[in-house]
Amino acid sequence: MHDIYLTIVLAPLIGAVIAGLFGKAIGRTATHRITILAMAISTILSAYVFKYMTVDGNETYNATVYTWMVADGIRFEIGFLIDSLSSMMMVVVTSVSLMVHIYTIGYMHEDDGYQRFFSYISLFTFSMLMLVMSNNFMQLFFGWEAVGLVSYLLIGFWYKRPTAIYANLKAFLVNRVGDFGFLLGIAAVLMYFNSLDYADVFKAAPLMKDMAVEVIPGQTWSLMTMIGILLFIGAMGKSAQVPLHVWLPDSMEGPTPISALIHAATMVTAGIFMVARMSPLYELSETALSIIIVIGAITALFMGLLGIVQNDIKRVVAYSTLSQLGYMTVALGASAYAAGVFHLMTHAFFKALLFLAAGSVIIGMHHEQDMRKMGGLKKYMPVTYWTMLIGTLALIGLPGFAGFFSKDAIIEAVHYSEIAGSGFAYFSVLAGVFITAFYSFRLFFMVFHGKERMDEHTRSHIHESPWVVTLPLIALAIPSVIIGAVYVGPMLFGDFFSDSILVSSEHDVLAKVGQGFTSWGGFILHGLQGPAVYLALGGAATAWYFYMKRPDIPGMFKQRLSIIYRVLENKYGFDDFNEKVFAGGSRKLGGFFWRVGDEKIIDGIIVNGTAQSVGWLASVLRHLQSGYLYHYAFAMIVGLMMMLLLFIV
């Protein structure tokens, strides 16, 4: 099996290297064939591993690939931990990535950077696989930063656009803020466990439960709380949780295929995956869990609200991603890790679908992204229309669709949770359901129904996208419908994750949700008794009323509630604050240190003061010497060498 795991990881890397170094030489067709072939190999093998682990029920695989270094008696290794959690992530990553690879043929076919793009997305897949397959914290961090690098490269893919290169720098720096906490968390793990290996750390964790540390003198914290919070800061960066969410909407400057792959389906869920992977640690700190649930709830509710006022089709989907990531985080905070990961999986499929469908619309509209200039596209783009409808229904959680199972499980789990902050979280996720349905159908109606608002020229050119675009849409629509029903039983209430996720019995809310669970059909019937389904339908109906029946209402709201509207439009002021305080402040501080500290004080007073007095001394001694510095210097060297040589020989 070792070779299979290695192949899964290396195939995309080899594809990336070939496309990156030799892409120009071998041409476009060969480039996409090679990278897609590599991805296909990786996908098929991942599916096999998934079956091997979860259906055949084999033992968890944990082994080293090579020793990166041994320092101070600690082995830093590259290795794989393959269990149900990682094999599920591998399937999600490789299958979405394969779809995106195929889709790219159609989306990027006019772009000069065609080969470079394939190289990047294959490199991304490699990095993401390294992240999810890791068996230790160091490799986790390696993958963590590597996906950040590729994200940086891809957001700035169109490097001529000022907005793109602003967005990619911003994304990298905000992620670095998260990584800053993450790295300190890893350092804390190493200090107290003297190992970075998951297995060692998880085994020793219960013994450390009551360990206290004093970070601020006089204040003792539980060690697990400190580690939990530090690691979670990393997750906040990567999974775009408030207040480190600011980079994700801007990341939409990148080409749409990567918005689907990186900024919706896989990379942004790395934080969710990480916390689930660390469940043996998080279970030991209720404080950390409380912080997680509150942050997640804020993200789920407030980022959803922003989706309502966006007019750029991709940004609506982006804010919906933020909000859904909030749901997953809430699930983690409620110790319903399995529900969070389950939502991660269903979300990966339907959100990739939504992004790729949005991309298909953008192609059809000749790279117009403003929904106010769309409308009535249903008749021009039937495949896109139906697949997008499926994605939307999955997102709002219509019973039967994939998103219903995962989202309803989260809502139920939060309902049962007794952790501090769960009340607020329950309100947020419920309100979020209404908001999600509202903005999703707002998008849907504005794009596909109603008046055709585009100009005549654009309208005459609208067409359905080619098969390389629609095939991935259809392929992603299938799991968006069925995957929830298939896996709700085993993943949430069965022992699917028993080898990888650990929940202490007093936190086990999913067990309570699962009481009386019989089948997915029963889960739907149970769901119909709760408020969530009706909130979703209400949201969709409101959107229909506002944007189909009475299109004058939104304008009225905008006027009447202009203050609220402006707050939403300014995204609560996070961007302005960061730009002024952090970016501007750093530049001011740097300027001060440089001009005053270095130039005025150190150079002006100390150094040049000394130089002047030396200069005065030199002027007295000047008549002793003449000529050039280098004459003396060479004489000095030659003299020294002669001396040395004489004494040796």
């Binding site: 990166w68 041994v70 320092a71 930063e145 490097y159 300190l184 350092a187 440089w594 150079d603």
Partner: protein, 505 residues
């Protein structure tokens, strides 16, 4: 076979005699001969340094490849050479970098070519001498002598303010060295020896130790350079020709750090322990204060120079957190991680800073400007070059998988054991380093073509490509597989720690 050859002497004298030979080619009429001989000599020297790595015994901390000859008997000064796991990698780094520097100067240097090449070869031999000297007087001679070619390189082939820069450089470093000399002579009177290994065991009381430590500190801090004696470096870099900047950043800065390991820590362990807080604070100032200063630089070379100071802050931090780790945790566990991380950082910084200065050199040779504002959208006309630049920038920002990550990672892990807040402050480099490096990359490389000069740029020549590709391999190689380097230095660092754990009082 190699065991019989005096390998270290060969490494010192081959480039020096080669340099003299190059000088003999005389005027610029014979420039090509001068260049070919120089390249040959540097490649041979590099080849000679490889057996050092290959035959190195990684199981022991004792000095290897040792040589001893009498030099000045009346003062018990000897020509003693030898290397351990700390100095050996630095020697290989020196021979490696010199080859690249000779190649980098190939077409760029137009006048006094022979002298230019000779200066670098002689400098190479002298720097190897510093790293392999086991006699304090011999060390001092090499230490001082090596500066002279560097003064010449900056003073002759430098930019418009080269005289100011050279004098500033000279004043700073000379001031520092004088104190070191005094300390060495004092110890000679105490122990009647200049042998560095004997000085390690020389009994000294705390006052003596503190005074000696401070004397060494002045010499080494200037060279590293540590805040606040760092202001010569940006000026020197800005005025130096590309090759000078590369050697300065890649090798010379390491000499100061090497001095701490060879002299300060083992000779004055108690003073090091007493004064460690001061050293940690100075290191953190270098990391953070200088990081902010780098952020606002408009001149690319200045920016990289400040970035070097900031990265060298990690090196000194790694050396001096060891005592606090012992105080905090009651064991020396994790201390070796700090020192080894610092040494890895030294090697890695050699690659990265060299690569960064060469990158600026590539641009400067074409547009004769170092101002960030003069560029914009270089990626459009030089895509291959931009690829290298982004790689080196990411490495400078400490991206895992590149060499820049390894040392920083180890030092931060180690610093956490000393104190949470030290690690916290040190880790801000994750954000600051990325900010100043990538912001520069954004302004220089990305965006639309900024002006006609950028529009006329031609991508890398084969020579430039070769140089950058070699460095790229080094940066990635060390990032993906640092184990061999750690294996080399492990026993030496353990031995050093055992030594400094023993109080001399």
């Amino acid at each position: 076979m190699f065991f019989e050859l005096p390998l270290l002497s060969l490494l010192i004298w081959t480039p020096i005699l080669g340099g003299v030979l190059v000088l003999l080619t005389g005027s610029d009429k014979n420039a090509l001969e001068a260049k070919v001989i120089s390249l040959l000599v540097s490649v041979v020297t590099f080849a000679l340094s490889l057996p050092l790595f290959g035959l190195f015994d990684t199981a022991t901390a004792t000095m290897q490849f040792t040589e001893q000859h009498r030099w000045i008997e009346s003062f018990n000064v000897n020509y003693t050479l030898g290397v351990d796991g700390i100095s050996m990698p630095l020697i290989v780094l020196t021979t490696f970098t010199t080859v690249l520097v000779i190649m980098a100067g190939w077409e760029v240097i137009q006048y006094k070519v022979a002298q230019y090449m000779a200066a670098f070869l002689i400098m190479e031999g002298l720097m190897i001498g510093v790293f392999s000297a086991l006699d304090a007087m011999l060390f001092y001679v090499f230490w001082e002598a090596m500066l002279i070619p560097m003064f010449i390189v900056i003073g002759v082939w430098g930019g418009p303010r080269r005289v100011y820069a050279t004098i500033k450089f000279f004043l700073y470093t000379f001031l520092g060295s004088v104190f070191m000399l005094v300390a060495l002579i004092y110890m000679y009177f105490q122990g009647d020896t200049f042998s560095i290994l004997q000085l390690h065991t020389l009994k000294l009381n705390l006052t003596e130790q503190i005074l000696i430590f401070l004397a060494f500190l002045i010499a080494f801090a200037v060279k590293v350079p540590m805040w606040p004696v760092h202001t010569w470096l940006p000026d020197a870099h800005v005025e130096a020709p590309t090759g000078g900047s590369v050697i300065l950043a890649a090798i010379m800065l390491k000499l100061g750090a090497y001095g701490f390991l060879r002299f300060s820590l083992p000779i004055t362990p108690d003073a090091s322990s007493v004064l460690d807080i001061m050293m940690i604070v100075l290191s953190l100032i270098a990391v953070i204060y200088i990081g902010f200063v780098a952020l606002v630089q408009q001149d690319m070379k200045k920016l990289i120079a400040y970035s070097s100071i900031s990265h060298m802050g990690f090196v000194t931090l790694g050396f001096f957190i060891v005592f606090m780790i012992y105080e905090n945790t009651g064991s020396w566990n994790g201390a070796a991680l700090g020192i080894e991380g610092a040494i890895v950082q030294m090697i890695s910084h050699g690659f990265i800073s060299g690569a960064m200065f060469l990158t600026v050199g590539v641009l400067y040779d074409r547009m004769h400007s170092r101002e960030i504002g003069a560029y914009g959208g270089v990626i459009n006309t030089m895509p291959v070059f931009a690829g290298f630049a982004v790689l080196f920038a990411m490495s400078n920002a400490g991206l895992p998988g590149t060499s820049g990550f390894v040392g920083e990672f180890m030092v931060i892990l180690s610093a956490f054991k000393a104190n949470f807040w030290i690690a916290f402050l040190a880790a801000t480099t994750l954000i600051l380093g990325a900010a100043y490096t990538l912001w520069m990359v954004k302004r220089v490389f990305f965006g639309d073509i900024a002006n006609d000069n950028v529009a006329d740029l031609k991508d890398l020549t084969t020579r430039e490509f070769t140089i950058l590709a070699i460095l790229a391999v080094a940066v990635l190689g060390l990032g993906v597989y640092p184990a061999p380097l750690l294996e080399v230095m492990g026993p030496t660092v353990d031995n050093l720690l055992q030594h400094i754990a023993q109080s001399k009082l």
